[in-house]
Point group: C2
Chain length 254, copies 2
């Protein structure tokens, strides 16, 4: 095997579509907690399996629901894309978390959750295991981030019992979103650790993830359009303060 | 005046809407070259005037055309947003151009244009003063970048005669886009130098723009949706190779 064989970005990857239900009209929020837990287990198993291919640096699990969110298939599904490099957006986030840890010796996401529990006003759904809140600097109206309350850098290490608890939590979050916003188009994205933790190939390449990274799910309702200002600046205009969005999501009658 | 008074990001800015024509139904591509040149002069005059406010670091001129491109007003218009910081997207681009210059002692955009003239296959509209091409790594189908062929870092230094030539060029580009894609929603963005060139306030803050930056206009037809993969990675899936897009745009009958 040639030295450096995997150091160049190769034109390889994987793309998988997970069909979530045989029922053409069912949405993820309507599935039973058991069913939803099975989908989460499929995510975990596929991540673990794809990590056996050492050409793949990152495995992104995401969902496009509704045409404005980029879905080309109406039947409820999610997707996995594995890339031969850590994606740019993730790399920036991983590096920021690493920098925070260097400075504070604390996980930035644990710090954010501490602050959010103190403030309270941006919390949406809280249980003993998971918390969903509208981020302080939300890019989109009703943007939500879901974190495990116990520090964990890797979604794929979540056990069956905890995935069932996650299913219960996620179902409540999606039901609140659907009720509050009339079942909007949305994207969700699992931000978990890159695959290299398990197969370190380069020195200093995301070696500290276990302490400084904290997996989470971003849920992005697509009710406004990204326009010229956003493309030109990388800054986002959000007409709905996260405190109002969170209150509305908390108070909606299910 | 306190030292460092302008070093913190302040909650200030400016937002102006330029009504391009009294005719409610006219689109930019249908306006006469003289009329279009007047709009470009308004951009220039407003940029020059806003630069008198030293709190404003960057002045972004852009256009959202059509609801999927984020337009909330159907009447043909463009916008100016001035921000108290150099926008993130621009800062990354400015820094990359600076890095290239440090390495090569050449403007990266002049280098790109040289390569594009050699390759030829991604060129869309060429005249002695301006060139529009579909970038090699286009993020969107039919994405186009328009550059002045003579190195110039600042749109606002363009004289009336050259703005008229730009109007002729831009009109042809927009007409080709409209004919090829059935008048799609689109954004355009003028990427020009930050305001600080004229009022340096900090050492080493974009001091080298005159040599390493080259203003240009990005034209982004919005015919595909940005979905989970793009949000999660910062990578763009573009189903249309720029060579095909450019050929189609060149060959369309006007």
């Amino acid at each position: 095997k040639a030295v450096g064989q995997y150091d160049r970005m190769a034109g390889v990857g994987a793309h998988e579509v997970i069909i979530e239900t045989p029922d053409h009209d069912a949405t993820m929020a309507e599935l039973s907690p058991d069913h939803l837990a099975t989908i989460l287990k499929v995510y975990r198993e596929r991540i673990l399996d794809l990590r056996n291919d050492k050409r793949l640096r990152y495995i992104l699990v995401f969902k496009n629901s509704g045409e404005p969110a980029g879905a080309s298939i109406p039947h409820s599904h999610s997707q996995i894309m594995a890339t031969p490099t850590t994606p740019r957006t993730l790399a920036v986030e991983l590096k920021s978390a690493q920098d925070h840890y260097q400075l504070k010796e604390r996980c930035i996401f644990c710090d954010i959750l501490d602050q959010e529990f103190q403030a309270g006003e941006r919390l949406v759904v809280v249980d003993p295991f998971f918390v969903t809140h509208c981020p302080y600097a939300s890019r989109f109206p009703f943007e939500m981030h879901l974190h495990p309350r116990k520090h964990s850098h890797d979604f794929a290490t979540t056990d069956d019992d905890m995935l069932y608890k996650l299913a219960l939590h996620l179902k409540e979050v999606l039901r609140r979103m659907n009720k509050a916003l009339g079942s909007p188009p949305y994207n969700f994205l699992i931000h978990t650790a890159p695959s290299v933790t398990w197969k370190p190939q380069r020195k200093h390449y995301w070696e500290t993830l276990e302490v400084d990274w904290h997996w989470h799910i971003e849920i992005l309702p697509r009710i406004t359009n990204v326009a010229g200002f956003e493309w030109g600046t990388g800054f986002y205009i959000n007409p709905t303060p996260p405190e109002e969005a969170a209150r509305f999501l908390r108070e909606v009658e299910l």
